[in-house]
Amino acid sequence: MSLNNFSELFADLDASNSTNNKIEVLKSFFLSNKPIDNSWAIYLLTGKSNKRFISGKYLRNLFSQIYEYPQWLIDTCYLKVGDSAEVITLLLKNKTTSRNKKLSNISLNELLSKKIPELSKLNEEEKNLEIKGIWETLPEDNHLIFNKILTGTFRVGVSIGLITKSISRLINIDEEIISHRLMGNFKPSIDSYEFLINKTINIEELNSKPFPFLLANNFEDKIFKHSINDFQFEWKYDGIRMQIIKRSGNVSLWTRGQELVNESFPELVEKMAYVKDDFVLDGELLVWNFKEKIAFDFSFLQKRINRKSPTRSIQIKYPIIFIAYDLLEINGRDIREIKLENRRIELEKYFSKWHNKTENNISDISKICDLISPKDWPDALTYKEKSRENNTEGLIIKKKTSIYSSGRKKGIWWKYKVDPMQLDAVLIYAKGGSGRRAGLYTDYSFALWKDQELIKFASAYSGLTNIEIKELDKWIRKNTIEKFGPVRSLKPEMVFEISFEKIQISKRHKSGIAVRFPRITKWRKDKKINDADSLENAFELMKKIS
């Protein structure tokens, strides 16, 4: 029954814009399905399974071949729909009406742990026949799920936070514990689900996992009312936020995106393993200019992010550093509940111990985050303005008495970004350029989130290099949903950092805001569309300015 149930779950989640609804839907799904299927469901919904068994193009060609359908017609449909799995699902509606229903009761587990992995063992001809067989014996309502898993494009508007909340409500255990359990390499199995819903909390099992990250909110004016001495000031580095976990001698590097990245930064793992103490550090990974003592541009870091087992020469060309902000655990003692100012003392104490060693010194790959000490708020502003000079994005302001909780807790940490104002937005439309840029799509429109919807908020023409323009143009042509004259609507996938000079209310725009001199300042290939800013962020930004 459960693949049908999962298809229904997908449709229900897809058809709701309300967080509470989604949580209820998830809860009742978990209650009425087997642990193993629940485990797979979580695996799929949290986007941990983007393994592509066949490409979208392969799927379209296969359909064309099996059902003698003109390839160009499928491609035209694809342009309209923007997703191969969905196009083929829609076209299958015409093809698989009367058939045997052999697979009508297949479980999610059977499909994911047997049927689909077995495909990779077959030769091409057998594989094609098998896919055809599945299409024709699987109930129509399950085609979309099957095609999406096959092409590694399963995505639905459910965040890991929603899963966390629904499990937390299901078993009445704090969200922090659940999100801790959900972090990192979640492998679908009965055990992993049982572990997730286990009502007793087992410390050892949590050993290699990072703590949920505490995130900073956008700056609020009301902070000015407080004494400057209540806060700790740090530079806001533009790198990869990371926790280094060393427990029982084992080192794990976890990004904020919950990826274990040991393989990408082996030199850091190696050096950290030398440290005699066990610890959990929160900090930022950067490619560092050791001579100038500032960070290199984010683009340098991009050269390292997706490269596993980098060669020695890459390691030398793009030397990394871990800048430690915070100490969360030391030799098995969780110190997140003690005040930031006291954690800082501990952090300094241990770093000076680790750096003062004559052998296996870690000072060439990690440092403690320097603190800034503004005398008063105007002085803090001056520091903020200077942040461009040392390649940082502004300031991070932390309440000295704060404990390290999780998520974007209000009233503890703030990011105070340097002007120009910036928002991360999703590319949704492109228009052909003219003159020197004729034949290329160079005029772009960007959108911000409003609930589940992307609302256009600005258009920008400048900021990309010629190479980037060409690359983006190619992508645009492949990812068009619809053409309206010279304008193409695009698959929401690309995130850009948009900078502007002024932001104000506008009744003329659907978004309700207008920005002045918008321009692209960074192509955030490291960000997913869910990481883009919301209109709410934009309004907050506006409030802050006025």
Partner: protein
């Protein structure tokens, strides 16, 4: 290729035009004589000297735009002559009164499909297959991804959608003329037995349909917003124009859906901002268009209003009939 200068029906200034009769079909600007296929506003413009339509179309139009228009009305199948050209209206199944228009001149038959559908719809006359030499067909949904489910299946889905959320008020957005009445008719045959409310614009059309002898379920006109609390578990039909803006703010605890053929595509569904999309259309799907092309026995087919390129190419590859691209003549 294109419709040639000497063709009986031409494409001129963005509209279909028969020069010999000096008559336009659904013109978008004022002309002397206008044939109106049906009463949707995008097929009507003010200021023409004389309009021609079916009786039902005329009644609905007058209800919408006032009595101040001069419309000559005809029954389905009734032939009339202008400059020696025989013209007649035939049911197109799109909405009440909607029609295809046939022209006969010098033994040559031309048929303009109008907006049409083949699916069951008890609120209007079933589409009629009309044989022709030349067919000018709409192709709003001219791609094979469009394949409509049976109407009662969609109606049952809507019914389930409402009854599964008894704590909520369900707002279903749909075009106020045609789609709304068809939905009412279908939903009243499902398990949903709660109250149904109509927005004024829909309510007006419901009455108009009733006056023309169509059986439409009674609904409550949604007037003052005081009754909000009583709306729990009921269905409200609203025109799509109200989906954005402040109107919705007066409701509490709602779920929204849009009923349209475009809801086939997930990206459009997501972008539209409604919670849910129900795929139901008053236009023909891909198979429907192909069926009409085939059964009309037309030797020449032109497509407009939609993805004409794909259909044309598809039929050209099949080599069964002479399909010509339909382009603007300047």
């Amino acid at each position: 290729m294109r419709i040639k200068q000497e063709d009986l029906i031409r494409y001129k200034d963005g509209n279909l035009y028969c020069e010999l009769a000096n008559i336009w079909i659904d013109p978008s600007k004022p002309v002397k004589r206008a044939l109106i296929t049906h009463a949707h506003f995008d097929h009507f413009t003010f200021g023409c000297e004389e309009y021609f339509s079916t009786y039902e179309t005329a009644i609905i139009l007058k209800e919408r735009v006032g009595d101040n228009v001069k419309i000559k009305t005809f029954d389905y199948g009734e032939e009339f002559k202008i400059n020696g050209i025989k013209i007649s209206f035939h049911p197109s199944g799109h909405i009440l009164g909607s029609s295809q228009i046939r022209f006969i001149f010098a033994e040559e038959k031309w048929l303009i499909s109008g907006d049409f559908k083949l699916q069951k719809d008890e609120t209007c006359k079933q589409h009629e297959i009309v044989k022709t030499d030349y067919l000018i067909s709409e192709c709003t949904f001219g791609l094979p991804i469009f394949k409509w489910d049976e109407t009662n299946k969609v109606a049952n889905d809507i019914s389930k959608w409402i009854t599964n959320s008894p704590e909520k008020t369900s707002l279903l957005f749909c075009y106020s003329l045609g789609k709304a009445q068809r939905l009412l008719n279908e939903i009243s045959q499902t398990n949903f037995k709660g109250n149904i409310y109509s927005h004024g614009s829909i309510y007006k059309m419901n009455n108009c349909y009733k006056e023309l002898g169509i059986d439409i379920k009674d609904t409550i006109k949604i007037e003052n917003k005081k009754k909000i609390d009583e709306l729990k578990g009921s269905l409200i039909l609203l025109p799509p124009s109200l989906s954005k803006g402040s109107y919705l703010k007066s409701f509490k605890n709602i779920q929204t859906a849009f009923a349209s053929g475009w809801m086939t595509i997930r990206a459009l569904r997501k972008r539209s901002g409604y919670d849910k999309g129900f795929v139901i259309s008053d236009h023909a799907d891909w198979d429907g268009i192909l069926e009409v092309v085939k059964k009309s026995e037309a030797k020449n087919v032109f497509f407009h209003h939609g993805d004409s390129e794909s259909l044309t190419k598809y039929l050209v590859e099949k080599k069964s009939i002479n399909v010509r691209f339909f382009e603007e003549q300047i």
